[in-house]
Amino acid sequence: MGVLDKLRLDGKVAIVTGAGRGLGRAMAVALAEAGVKIVATARTESQIEETAGLVRDKGRRCLVMQCDVTDSESVNAMVDASLGEFGRIDILVNNAGGATDGFGNSLEAITDEQWRVGIATNLTGAMYCSRAVIPHMLERGSGKIINVTSGFGLRAGRNNFIYTSAKAGLINFTRSLTMTYAPAIQANLIAPGLFPHGDPAMEEWWKHGMFVPMGRLGRDEELGPLCVFLASDLTSYMNGQVVVLDGGGLAGGELPTGFAPQVPLPEPKGSGK
């Protein structure tokens, strides 16, 4: 069997959380192209219906499940329904997450509720989904988990407490999965850089990526193939790794590249300038 044939994932079943838009949609569609049947979940049903349409255009079945990953009953019901529909789950993509209320708040301005929701959305949800799916994967003796972290899981941000804590936690949660469930299950992470999902306001906000070493922002279609690769047997010896997809952003840390024009940050308050 050749290298390219191993990218065919016919007959497999994947749950993709946060599949209603952006990276989740891109990964669901790419997996469908590779032959995977998709359980598309998100909180907003109209958006997952659109994703399901794209999956079905690829000739694959798609189960649309409204699911709030921060609610374990909702997660358990979604996993039960997936098994009822398809009889198996080979791939779990924990993609749901993102900025929540209070993102960017100074520490003293973060409410208990904002912290709780942010951690639940970006960390606990992945735990709930993994906890619900793993017994089934162990029973079948195999499974692939792909968790979506962020560049902010690997470095900090000023007044970015909730999101960076959750995304960093997700990385070590994933590593502990690998220590516990190898070799049956492999769990890896994708750390996307800046992906505006075609939203002009986000493109503008991120200055079209001029400060990214490659000089541009990420495109959704650049993420889908990586997800397929991580879901395939081609990565059967890769476990607990973070694959960074950020146009070179983390290669230099905060060192100037000489190529990337620096975007000046506003002076910190109280710096005396």
């Binding site: 390219l4 990218l7 590779a34 690998t178 190898a182 070799p183 070493p213 690769f229 010896y237 290669a251």
Partner: protein, 221 residues
């Protein structure tokens, strides 16, 4: 289609260190994905030359163009002429895989300067020379992919591995620096950190088996 995005049909690749099992696996996988592949040795030795030739045979068997060349990967003339040959035989160079790999383990106090230099030259300087030679071609065409096969020992130490670990760490940060330097040229530079791969039959080795028993996944890839 996703599989088409992974196809390398019409591309030309060069793999240095195809005489070691990781390089050979990379070369054959590239050919399976559709690329023409030239392969070269890390050092000039009959054993490596035989291995490189056998790798080229495997590439031909996949109906791809290919060649094998014995080089000293730490010699700049050898490396430059290797890249020239790839460009003249294939008409282009899209992919460079650096799999130079000279294993070396010895207590630090016993390493002579000549041995240190040999390990650094083969494992690190050779990668730089190949990147530089291939980079000239790739930057001209504003397109290229460089894959440096480093080691998990780039980020972790190993007793008696000072020279090897230092060289592999060098490869990893050379990769990052070139990735930034060429970030806007269409040439990407990445590294693969290889772990314990049972490619040379080392599972027969009792010491290696004990090492693996301590790792999380109790089987070599």
């Amino acid at each position: 289609m996703v599989a088409e995005q992974f196809s390398l049909a019409g591309k030309a690749a060069l793999v240095i260190g195809a005489s070691n099992p990781l390089g050979r696996a990379a070369a054959v996988a590239l050919a399976e994905a559709g690329a023409d592949v030239g392969v070269a040795t890390t050092t000039r030795s009959q054993r490596e030359e035989v291995a490189a030739n056998s790798c080229a045979n495997e590439i031909w068997a996949l109906d791809r163009k290919g060649f094998a060349q014995a080089i000293d990967a730490a010699d700049e003339r050898d490396v430059d002429s290797l890249v020239e040959r790839a460009v003249s035989e294939f008409g282009r160079l899209d992919i460079l895989v650096n799999a130079q790999d000279l294993h070396f383990a010895q207590p630090a106090l016993e390493i002579s300067l000549a041995e240190w230099r040999r390990v650094i030259n083969a494992n690190l300087t050779g990668v730089f020379l190949a990147c530089r030679a291939a980079g000239r071609e790739m930057l001209k065409r504003e397109s290229g992919r460089v894959v440096n096969i480093s080691s998990v020992l780039a980020e972790r130490g190993m007793a008696n591995g000072s020279a090897y670990c230092a060289a592999q760490a060098g490869v990893l940060n050379l990769t990052r620096a070139l990735a930034l330097e060429w970030a806007r040229t269409g040439v990407t530079v990445n590294a693969v950190g290889a772990g314990w791969i049972d490619a040379g039959g080392f599972l027969a080795d009792e010491n290696m088996k004990r090492q693996l028993e301590l790792s999380a996944v109790q089987a070599a890839g």
